[in-house]
Structure formats: C-alpha cells, structure tokens
C-alpha cells in the first residue's frame, strides 16, 4: 500500500550504520480529497497558459484592424471556445477562492512600521476588490458603463 518517494528524499548526510529501506509515500495519497484539490489547483496553470495566449491572439487581432478583429470575435462563438472559456471561468473562480483563503496567513507580521489588517479583514477585502473589478471592468467591456 505504498509507492516510492524520491529515492533521496530526507536522505541522511552520510549513510547510517545499517541498511535502510527507501522512503515511501502512501498510495492512498493520490485519492485524498485535499490532495486532489491541490493537484487540480496546480493543473489550472495549463488553462492560465492557454487563456493568456488566447488574449494575446485577440490583442493582435485588435491591433491588426477592424476586419481581423471582427473575424477573431466571431471565432469565439465556436462551441470549442465556449467550452474552453467556461472551463477557464470555473478554474479562475476556483483559484480565487483557494488563493484568497491562503493569502492572509502568508502576510508578514509587519512591513517596517506598518501592520497588516486582521486576517478575516484581508480575506474580506480580497473578495470586495475581486467583485468590484469583475463588475466594474466587466461592465465597461459589456457596454454597461461608458
């Protein structure tokens, strides 16, 4: 019920007096819910790569002129892109929720004379800023503002 870790994991600086068995990881590790969530969190990196290049493609189309831009926007209606964007949106929300939970405790106790606000306040502020930017920028893009 175990698989190997890296063979040198936690290796002593010089060999001990008796032979040791190599370090192991429990094979149930991969199935643990928390671990699966963590691996998923890392896997969203692939989607961030892809959406970044998508945004670059769109910006290039915008720089190229009205015809290129129109073609690019129309290409976004394809079912493949819709599915991809939906998946990206879900991932981005997932990343935000997990990151906002962990961010407050990664703040140092003080930066010079400044102290950060209490952790729940930081947590709340992150959500406020996120929702603000989403509706603000989203509203501008969607033609609701300006």
């Amino acid at each position: 019920m175990a698989g190997p870790s890296h063979s040198e994991s936690m290796a002593p600086p010089k060999p001990g007096r008796t032979r040791t068995a190599p370090p192991q990881m429990p094979s149930s590790w991969w199935g643990e819910k928390r671990i699966r969530t963590y691996l998923l969190f890392d896997a969203t990196g692939i989607l961030y790569f892809l959406i970044g290049f998508q945004a670059i493609r769109l910006t290039n189309a915008l720089a190229a002129g009205p015809a290129a831009w129109k073609a690019a926007i129309e290409s976004l209606s394809s079912p493949l892109y819709i599915a991809f964007h939906l998946l990206c949106l879900v991932s981005v929300v997932f990343v935000a929720v997990r990151f906002f939970r962990l961010f407050p405790k990664a703040q140092p106790p003080s930066i010079g004379p400044l102290k950060p606000p209490p952790r729940p306040v930081i947590h709340g502020m992150l959500y406020v800023v996120w929702i603000g930017i989403t509706f603000g920028l989203g509203g501008i893009l969607a033609g609701v503002f300006f």
């Binding site: 890392d42 990196g45 670059i56 976004l76 964007h85 996120w130 920028l137 033609g143």
Partner: protein
Amino acid sequence: MRALLLKLEPVIWLLFGQGILIGTMLLTPFIAVVGLLVPLGIVDAEALSYDRAHAIATAWLFGVIPIGQLLLAALLVLPLWKGAHHVRSLLIDFGGGERDGAVGSLLYAIALIGSILGVMAVLAL
C-alpha cells in the same frame, strides 16, 4: 539550469504571485464578457465593436496614464507566469524533481516569450 532558476526565484515568485492575484481578478471579467456573454449573445456584440474595443484598450486616465494598455498588458503577461509556475509544480508533484531544472526553465522561457509577444501586441495598438 537549476542554479540559474534559484537565482531568479524571487523575480519568478513575484510575477507568479501577481499572476494569481491581479491576473485572476482581471481574467474574471475578461473571460465572462469577452469569452462567454458576447459570443453567446447575452450581451450585445456592439459592446465589442472594433471602435469601442480599441477605445477601451487604448484608454487614458487623466490624460497621462495609459490605463487601457497597462491593464491589457497585465492581463496578457501575468497569467502566463502563474501558468508556468503551477505547471512546473504539477510536474514535480508527479515525480519530476530530477528534471526540474530543465522543465522549469522551459516553462518560464515559454512564459517569457509569451510576455514579450503580449507587450508587443499591446504596443501595436
């Protein structure tokens, strides 16, 4: 390779951290509106007509800050570094500790190339 990565870690970590923080916050409205609401017709396509889109992307704040281009550059560049860092981490999780120097360098190189392409695209507007 790994020695080079060790030297650059602080920079990479800062870019990655902003990729998650600022990148995620900018990506949400971008994907929601440009990626879903407009293509699905829920929001009128006129909102992203060439003239309007170009105006937003090249908007100025107080006449001195090119806010449109700055935010667009952040949107194009930062997610790539989050992506690179996390894919590197994912590959290590699957037993890739040995190859980390080469794999990590490759991923960050892709992010760097993407970043340059992104900045060039923004400047071309």
